[in-house]
C-alpha cells in the first residue's frame, strides 16, 4: 500500500515535471516565433511575453530583424497543426489557451504528488531502491531546468548553481581522501589545473587553434575530442599524476602527502606556464574557444553522476576499508587491508574526480589560465569540506553552494561603496567582502569545528526520528 502510494506520487510528480517542462520549452520556441510576428498580433499578449519580445528585438540590429522575419514561414510550418486548427491567431491561442492550462495542470499534479509524497516520507526514507534515487535525481534536474527557464541562463542564481555544482564535485572528491580515508592532501588545485588544461587542449576546435595558439603556430595538437571523452581524459591525466606522486609518498607512514601534493600543485602551475611547453599549453597565455556548456543541466549531470559514483564507492567494501584506515591504520592492517594499495586507490580516485572538476571549471569559465590555480583555490575547497563536515558528502555539497553563493552573490554588496543621506558608510569598499568572509570562516571553524553536518549525512528519516544518540545505549 505504502509502496503503491510512493510510486503513484513519484509518477505524478514526474508527469507534472514533464508537463511544466514541456509547456516552458514550447513556450520558449513559440517565444521566438511570437517575437518575430507583427507586434499588433500581440495586442493581447501578456506583459511578460511582451517585455521579453521587446528585449530581444531591441538587442537585434535592424538587418537581422528583417532577416528573421523572412524566415517566418519556415517557423510557422513547424507549428502546422496548431495553426491549421486555430487559423491566423493560432500562435496566441496556443500560448494563451494551452500554455497556461497545461502549466496549471502540471502545477496541480505536482502539488497532489508532493502532498502524497509528504505523507509517505517516512516510508520513503526506508525505501532505498535505485528507482527512488533515480526519480529524485530526475526531479532535481527537472527543477534546475525549470528554474533556469524562469530565472534565465545568465542570471546570478544560475551562475551560483553552476559553479556550486562544480565545487560540490571537487569538495566531495577531496572529502573522499581527507574525510573518509584520513589522508591529508593539499594538491586539489594542481589536479584541477591538470584536468582543466587537458580538457581545454583537446576540445579547441581545429580551425580556432591558429588564433588561440597565435604565438605557437597553432600548437601541436590539431584535433578535437568529443566533450565527454575529453572530460574523462582530464580525469585520467590527473589520476596518472596522483599515481606517480603516490608511489613514493604513500608508503611512508607519516603525513608527507600534504607536503608532496602542495609542492606538486605549485610546480605543475609553473610548468604549465613554461614557454617551452607553449605548443601544448600555450605558455602563460589563455586557452579559449574550447567547448563549453550553456545550460546548468550539464554541470549538474556530470557532477551528479560523479558524486553518485563516489557515494557508491564509499558504501562499498572498498569505502568501508578506507574508513577503517582513517579510524585506525594498525587495526586496519591487522584486518588484512593493504594500506598502500587502498591509500593509492583513494588518492588516485580522488584526483580523478578533481581533474573532472577542473574540466568542468574550465567549461564554466570559458577560458583557462594556469596562474589562476593557486594554493588559495585548494584552501577554498578545504574550507568547504571543513565547513560541510569531514566525512559528510551532503555536508560538502551543501557547503559548496553556500560558499559559492556567499562569495559570488550574497556578500557582493560589501564591495560596493554605499552612500546613505550623504554619509558614506564606512568600511564598504572593494575587498571588504573578503575580510567579512574570512571572519565568518574563522567563527565557523572556532565554534562549529565539526562543520554543518559533522560526519552525519542529511536524510529524510532524520527529520522525523527523534535524535537518538548512537552511543547512548549500553553502559557497562
Amino acid at each position: 500500500m505504502k509502496k503503491a502510494k510512493i510510486v503513484l506520487s513519484l509518477l505524478l510528480i514526474i508527469a507534472a515535471v514533464a508537463l511544466v517542462g514541456y509547456t516552458l520549452s514550447s513556450q520558449g520556441d513559440l517565444h521566438d516565433l511570437v517575437m518575430r510576428l507583427d507586434p499588433q498580433n500581440l495586442a493581447a499578449a501578456d506583459s511578460r511575453m511582451q517585455k521579453a519580445r521587446d528585449r530581444v528585438l531591441d538587442g537585434l540590429p535592424e538587418g537581422d530583424r528583417t532577416k528573421d522575419l523572412r524566415n517566418l514561414d519556415r517557423y510557422l510550418e513547424g507549428y502546422g497543426p496548431q495553426l491549421e486548427l486555430d487559423g491566423e491567431n493560432g500562435l496566441e491561442l496556443f500560448v494563451y489557451r494551452n500554455g497556461p492550462s497545461l502549466l496549471a495542470a502540471g502545477i496541480a499534479l505536482a502539488v497532489i504528488g508532493a502532498a502524497l509524497l509528504i505523507t509517505q516520507l517516512k516510508a520513503l526514507a526506508k525505501y532505498r531502491k535505485p528507482a527512488v534515487y533515480l526519480a529524485l535525481a530526475a526531479l532535481l534536474y527537472a527543477g534546475v531546468y525549470i528554474v533556469e527557464n524562469i530565472a534565465g541562463a545568465s542570471s546570478m542564481l544560475m551562475t551560483v548553481l553552476k559553479k556550486g555544482a562544480i565545487y560540490a564535485l571537487i569538495a566531495v572528491s577531496m572529502n573522499l581522501l581527507n574525510g573518509f580515508t584520513g589522508l591529508f592532501s593539499l594538491g586539489q588545485a594542481g589536479f584541477m589545473l591538470v584536468g582543466a588544461y587537458t580538457y581545454a587542449i583537446f576540445t579547441i576546435a581545429s580551425d580556432s587553434r591558429i588564433q588561440v595558439y597565435q604565438y605557437y603556430d597553432g600548437g601541436l595538437v590539431q584535433f578535437a575530442l568529443p566533450t565527454l571523452v575529453a572530460i574523462v581524459l582530464a580525469g585520467l591525466v590527473a589520476a596518472f599524476f596522483a599515481y606517480l606522486i603516490g608511489l613514493p609518498v604513500l608508503r611512508l607512514k607519516s603525513d608527507y602527502l600534504a607536503i608532496a601534493t602542495l609542492g606538486f600543485a605549485e610546480i605543475i602551475r609553473a610548468i604549465f606556464q613554461y614557454d617551452g611547453l607553449g605548443p601544448i599549453t600555450n605558455g602563460s597565455n589563455l586557452l579559449r574557444k574550447f567547448t563549453t556548456f550553456d545550460t546548468a543541466l550539464f554541470p549538474f549531470a556530470v557532477a551528479g553522476a560523479c558524486i553518485a559514483l563516489i557515494v557508491l564507492l564509499i558504501h562499498s567494501t572498498y569505502g568501508r576499508s578506507f574508513k577503517a584506515i582513517r579510524d585506525d591504520e594498525v587495526a586496519a592492517e591487522a584486518m588484512g587491508i593493504n594500506l598502500f594499495r587502498h591509500k593509492q586507490m583513494s588518492f588516485v580516485i580522488s584526483s580523478f574526480f578533481a581533474g573532472v572538476g577542473g574540466a568542468l571549471l574550465a567549461m564554466y569559465q570559458t577560458t583557462v589560465q594556469a596562474s589562476a590555480f593557486k594554493a588559495s583555490m585548494t584552501y577554498e575547497i578545504l574550507l568547504i569540506v571543513v565547513i560541510g563536515g569531514m566525512g559528510s558528502i551532503t555536508g560538502s555539497i551543501l557547503a559548496s553552494f553556500l560558499f559559492v553563493a556567499s562569495s559570488e552573490w550574497w556578500l557582493r554588496f560589501l564591495d560596493n561603496e554605499l552612500v546613505i543621506g550623504g554619509v558614506q558608510i564606512p568600511l564598504l569598499r572593494s575587498g571588504f567582502r573578503m575580510v567579512v568572509f574570512s571572519v565568518v570562516i574563522m567563527v565557523m571553524v572556532l565554534f562549529y569545528r565539526r562543520g554543518i553536518m559533522g560526519d552525519k549525512e542529511f536524510n529524510f528519516s532524520s527529520l522525523f526520528k527523534p535524535r537518538v544518540k548512537k552511543g547512548g545505549g549500553v553502559r557497562g
Binding site: 567494501t317 572498498y318 568501508r320 576499508s321 587495526a331 591487522a334 584486518m335 594500506l339 580516485i349 549500553v474
Partner: protein, 267 residues
C-alpha cells in the same frame, strides 16, 4: 627484537602445534606483546625468523646500526630478509586482537566486523562500486552477523563500538579477528579489565570457538586461573628471555617463575 638499547625479546623460541591452546605469560614489560608484534609483522625482528605451517613468513638479520651490536653473533644465521606487512600475515590465516583495544571508533559493532570480511573479497573496485557483487556483499554481511552471534553481540550490532562496555569491546575484537577466517588466533590479554565471572565465561568461550572453528590459539594473559584452566602448554618469559615452559602444573611450581612474578630474590 631490539629497540635502541632495550632488547625486548631476546633469543626467544616459541613453538605452537596445530589445535593447541598455548599461553605466553610473564611480568609487565617482559616482551610478550613485542613477540606478538614480531609474529604478525607489526615490527620486523632485529634478528630472527617466523615459520607458519613449515613456511618461512618473516625473516630478518641485523642491519644498519644493529649490525655492529650483533657483530660476531648469529647474524649470519638469517641471511634472507622477509618483511611482510601485517595484512599479508593476516591473509595467511593469523588473526590477532590488541591489548589496548583498537576498534574502529566511528563505526558500529557490525561495521567493525564487516571490515574484516574485506580481505576475502573477489570483487574489484569497479564491480564493488557498481554493485555487481551483490551476492558477495550479502555473504559478507551474513558472515559478519554470524561472527557477532558467536560472541553474543548480535543484539548490539548497531551500537557504536566504543560505546560498548569494556568486556564487550574485547569480545568484539575477537569477533573481528574471527571474521578474517583465521587458522591461528593470537589473543593479547583478552581478559584484561574483566571481572572473575567474565573471565570464567571468556575461558569457556575460547575453548568453544577453538573447537568450533578448528583453531589454534596463542594467548597472552595475566589472569592465572584462566591460563591454567585452558592452556595445553605455557611459555613464561621475563626480560624478553624464556624462563620456563611446559604444562600448566609444571610451570606453576617452577621456582624461576615464582621468583619472576614475585619480583624478589629470596636468597
Amino acid at each position: 627484537m631490539q629497540f635502541g638499547g632495550v632488547v625486548a625479546v631476546d633469543n626467544l623460541s616459541l613453538h605452537v602445534e596445530q589445535g593447541e591452546i598455548v599461553a605466553l605469560i610473564g611480568p609487565n614489560g617482559a616482551g610478550k606483546t613485542t613477540a606478538f608484534n614480531c609474529i604478525t609483522g607489526v615490527y620486523k625482528p632485529t634478528n630472527g625468523q617466523v615459520y607458519y605451517q613449515d613456511q618461512l613468513i618473516v625473516s630478518n638479520h641485523p642491519q644498519g646500526k644493529m649490525k655492529a651490536l650483533y657483530a660476531g653473533q648469529n647474524k649470519d644465521a638469517y641471511k634472507q630478509v622477509l618483511e611482510p606487512t601485517p595484512d599479508r600475515i593476516t591473509k595467511l590465516g593469523l588473526a590477532r586482537t590488541f591489548q589496548n583495544i583498537r576498534l574502529f571508533k566511528t563505526q558500529t559493532a557490525f561495521e567493525n566486523v564487516l571490515i574484516a570480511t574485506h580481505l576475502h573479497r573477489t570483487s574489484n573496485l569497479l564491480t564493488a562500486t557498481l554493485r555487481l557483487n551483490h551476492a558477495e556483499e550479502k555473504r559478507m554481511r551474513q558472515h559478519a552477523l554470524d561472527m557477532l552471534e558467536v560472541v553474543g553481540l548480535a543484539d548490539l550490532k548497531d551500537e557504536l563500538a566504543t560505546s560498548l562496555p569494556y568486556g564487550m569491546q574485547r569480545r568484539l575484537e575477537i569477533a573481528r579477528a574471527l571474521a578474517t577466517k583465521p587458522r591461528l588466533l593470537l589473543l593479547d590479554e583478552p581478559a584484561a579489565g574483566m571481572n572473575p565471572q567474565e573471565t570464567d565465561d571468556l575461558g569457556r568461550f575460547i575453548v568453544d570457538i577453538k573447537q568450533r572453528f578448528d583453531l589454534t590459539v596463542f594467548l597472552i594473559e595475566h589472569h592465572m586461573d584462566l591460563v591454567m584452566d585452558i592452556s595445553d602448554r605455557i611459555y613464561v618469559i621475563d626480560f624478553g628471555r624464556l624462563i620456563a615452559t611446559g604444562r600448566p602444573d609444571e610451570v606453576q611450581d617452577n621456582p624461576d617463575v615464582i621468583t619472576a612474578y614475585l619480583g624478589v630474590d629470596e636468597e
